[in-house]
Amino acid sequence: MKKYKKWIIAGALIVLAVSICAGYYIRRKERENRSYSLVYIPKVIDGTNDFWSSLILGTEMAAQEYHAELEIMAPEDENDVEGQNRFLQKAIEMEPDAILFSPSSFTESDGLLREAKEKGIHVVFVDSYTEQDIQDITVATDNIEAGKILGGFAAGLLDPGDQIAVVAHVKGVSTAVEREEGFRAGLGDLEEGITDVVYCDSSYEKSYSLTMELMEKYPDLKMIAGMNEYSSVGAARAVKEAGMEDQIMVVGIDSSQEAVQLMEHGVFKGIVVQKAFKMGYVGVRETMRMLRGEEYETDVNSGCELVTPENMYTGEIEKLLFPFNTLKTSETAVNTGTNGEID
């Protein structure tokens, strides 16, 4: 009968609508509760390097908060491109949901990354990136900005004609290139004072010996700028060793306990510190948001801050320089996991 047909259709529509809603809800819940596996490959695992330690701590805390399984693997040497690629290969074979990657080389890892993408693994760049636009998300410091801040600060310390040497970490790597570019821009006219640029291949020892050579070569050198933790700390060690801290000002990028000590000692005049913890944390957070199908940002600038002997004991800088490593950090991260999204 026609009358009843109308009612049957109405009933069917209601049932359909309810089941669609329920299905959507269940799917969403599933997506939220599903455990995702992530692999993070930093450039190096090195306990003395605060930058990488903080970054890794950030990824671990975010992973805990978002209930992701995170495996971290990296070579012991920051310049070991082949070693890093071996880990990348291994990570691809594990078929995780996403690989977070801090490429040591601007070009050498693209083939493997493309292979990962073809396998359906998401690729997230943390700290640095490669030649090809292959990533889903990039979380990094704006390295040009970091260089510029350092350059601007250095310019305030120098007089026209002063000689400057740059100790960079790895030739061709994106962070080194951009920081140097920013540093030069920040110096302005004083840029002409840059007499030499050397590369230490992210080794304290090489940076130390290169700096020794520089000081010999340019006896009137006024400033040495390190482009990462290895290069700046190595340079500062050399300057301290040579007792030249009154003549040569050392500025650098990235801090460590040793760098802080050297700043207290008066060797470092300024350090631009990246927000490493934030970088790692945001990297995992945005990756998880992407995997869960929520809104996420594809390009995050995690920011940086200038530290000088004058401000190093202020609360804001202490928060940045010294990781808050209490006994219960890991435990509390679990406890408050449900509230992690309140930022």
Binding site: L57, G58, M61, Q257, V260, Q261, E264, H265, G266, K275, F277, K278, Y281, V282, R285, Y313, G315, E318, K319, L320, L321, F322, P323, F324, N325, T326, L327, K328, T329, T332, A333, N335, T336, T338, N339, G340, I342, D343
Partner: protein, 598 residues
């Protein structure tokens, strides 16, 4: 009649009472259920909210007291150590201080061993003497103590104990832990009132986090501590907070007048419950997500909504069912009435068993239709009788003028000794009279009507001698068809008196009979003077036909034909001035049903 109210007008918009009732009751139920649900939802929500925040307030006050007594305990340690004579001797004494140093170290060891939440403990004199922990750690040589608040504050005259909230302790080289420091100035008792040293205890967060995380039972929220300036003393996500990955609305907490504050919107709405400590100046804050807090209430709300929805659906079906039963009898009644309105009274009684208003309405309707049916049957019978008598009356009218004129003609002919003609005319007249009187039947076969007409025409032709001629041409196929009596003759009479009589020359009258479209058609055609349109238009009027000699007019014929055969049949005229007139009589060719009617 009263004006219709807006409600009535609204209900009037519906096609049926059923849908009006359905809509009204649905609206009512929906409104009632929605109101009840909303009210109880709100009530549940506020009750749960009240209970939870009361519970939280109790907990957070307790927590604040615990922290106070914790700090109290540490102050006691500070008091005991800093007032000991060993400390005086070690810091300010001259000569050998080795024994005092050992005793102090022993004291420190006891403190450090018994409390895992104390990271460092030490004394520092303004003269540069210091003793920290086991006395073995190397002191950071590059640290300028005057930049450290925990050192400078207690040296001020008006501060006895200083509590420094979360900061980095730089004093031991190679270690830069985050700590909370409690420090106390030490007076040099030998020299007077001046403070010349500081005792400090660095607390790691194990004890405080334990105190704060008590609250975490059931994942309801978390607690954190602010100092008087709004700096974080402890927060379970301190690292995230320090890296701007988490935020707390600290200014809101500092400015709050009541001990609960709501912040954020929607999913991020949070409830802060505060407890300020007079002793430390710290504020212990419990933060709970309102969503989380109202989880129980949300569960209850979902149940309410589900029940409400189920109720509404059941109610709707019930409403439809009840409205359906009530109105189906009304609809039956309406359908029945619609048929009556169309004129169909042969409907069966509407079946209605209910005893309510509709039942009595239906019964009244049934009685009414039965009564109307009876009245109509009565009316039909009356009409029939009336028609019959009228027909009789019309038929019985034999034109006396004609009789008189004919007899006159016979007399003239007899006087003229025209015997043959007299015989013929008298015979014709006799036959005519016999036919019109003797036959009791209303109808006769066309053949008889034609014979009657022939007799009449014979008489008329003899009377008008050279004035007219006639022809009769009737299809034998229609001769048996019945025709009411005295139809043809009056029409012919009309044609003669109004058509041929005024014609100068000799006229011709033709009677034709044939079948056409299943009807029997008789035509009387004359080539007389004809009629103009005005005369033609009034030909059926009663008065027009009622002149001088002519008793039976066209009106009479037409009326009888239509009374008998229905309005679709009867007589029609066509005429043209100077050419002639054709009268056409149409009757049904197959009269079985109509003849049975009589």
């Amino acid at each position: 009649m009263r004006e219709k109210g807006p409600a009535a007008a609204l209900i009037g918009k519906f096609k049926s009472i059923q849908s009006a009732m359905f809509a009204a009751v649905s609206l009512l139920i929906l409104g009632a259920v929605a109101t009840v649900t909303l009210v109880s939802m709100n009530f549940t929500r506020s009750t749960i909210f009240e209970n939870s925040s009361l519970y939280t307030r109790t907990i957070i006050r307790q927590m604040n007291q615990n922290i106070d007594s914790y700090i109290d305990y540490m102050e006691n340690i500070a008091y005991i150590v800093s007032s000991s004579e060993d400390v005086q001797e070690y810091l300010f004494g001259s000569g050998d201080t080795g024994a005092a140093r050992e005793r102090i170290l022993g004291q420190f060891e006891t403190i450090l061993d018994s409390r895992s939440d104390i990271l460092n403990v030490g004394i520092i004199g303004t003269n540069g003497r210091m003793l920290i922990n086991e006395g073995r750690e190397s002191v950071n040589p590059d640290l300028d103590l005057s930049t450290q608040e925990w050192y400078t504050e207690p040296l001020k005259a008006d501060v006895s104990v200083c509590l420094t909230s979360s900061h980095v302790q730089h004093i031991i080289s190679g270690q830069r832990p985050w700590v909370i420091t409690l420090s106390r100035g030490i007076r040099d008792q030998s020299s007077g009132v001046e403070k010349a040293g500081v005792f400090f205890i660095d607390l790691n967060y194990s004890a405080i986090s334990e105190l704060c995380d008590q609250n975490n039972i059931g994942n309801r929220g978390y607690a954190f501590i602010l100092d008087a300036e709004g700096n974080i003393v402890y927060h379970p996500q301190q690292q995230q907070l320090y890296n701007e990955l988490q935020t707390e609305n600290i200014s809101l907490i500092l400015e709050a007048n009541s001990d609960t504050v709501l912040t954020g919107k929607g999913k991020n709405e949070r409830l802060y419950t505060l407890s300020r400590s007079v002793k430390t100046g710290w504020t212990t804050v419990d933060c709970v997500n309102v969503d989380e807090l109202l989880k129980e209430s949300n569960k209850a709300q979902s149940i309410y909504v589900l029940i409400a929805a189920a109720l509404v659906i059941v109610a709707l079906f019930l409403t439809r069912f009840i409205a359906g039963t009530i109105t189906s009898s009304i609809q039956r009644l309406r359908d029945s009435m619609a048929r009556v309105q169309e004129g169909d009274f042969d409907i069966p009684d509407v079946v209605e068993t209910s005893e309510n208003e509709i039942g009595s309405l239906t019964r009244s309707f049934n009685v009414m239709t039965r009564r109307i049916r009876e009245l109509m049957d009565q009316n039909v019978r009356d009409q029939e009788a009336k028609r019959k008598s009228e027909l009789k009356a019309l038929q019985s009218q034999i034109n006396p003028h004609f009789l008189y004129n004919t007899l006159d003609s016979i007399i003239w002919m007899a006087e003229g000794k025209k015997n043959e003609e007299v015989v013929l005319m008298t015979a014709s007249l006799a036959r005519l009279l016999r036919q019109s009187i003797s036959n009791e039947d209303e109808v006769v076969p066309i053949a008889q009507e034609v014979e009657y007409a022939r007799g009449y025409l014979t008489i008329q032709k003899m009377r008008y001698k050279d004035k007219m001629e006639f022809q009769i041409d009737v299809d034998p196929a229609i001769l048996h068809i019945n025709l009411i009596k005295l139809v043809l003759q009056p029409v012919i009479e009309n044609a003669i008196y109004h058509g041929l009589k005024y014609k100068e020359s000799k006229g011709l009258l033709i009677v034709k009979g044939f079948m056409k479209n299943g009807n029997a058609v008789l035509q009387v055609i004359d080539n007389g003077v004809g009629m103009d349109e005005e005369t033609l238009a009034h030909i059926y009027d009663r008065h027009k036909v009622n002149y001088q000699s002519n008793g039976v007019g066209v009106y009479n014929v037409q009326k009888r034909l239509q009374l008998y055969y229905g309005s679709a049949y009867g007589i029609t005229y066509e005429s043209k001035v100077g050419v002639g007139t054709t009268a056409t009589i149409t009757i049904p060719g197959n009269q079985e049903d109509s003849s049975e009617k009589i």
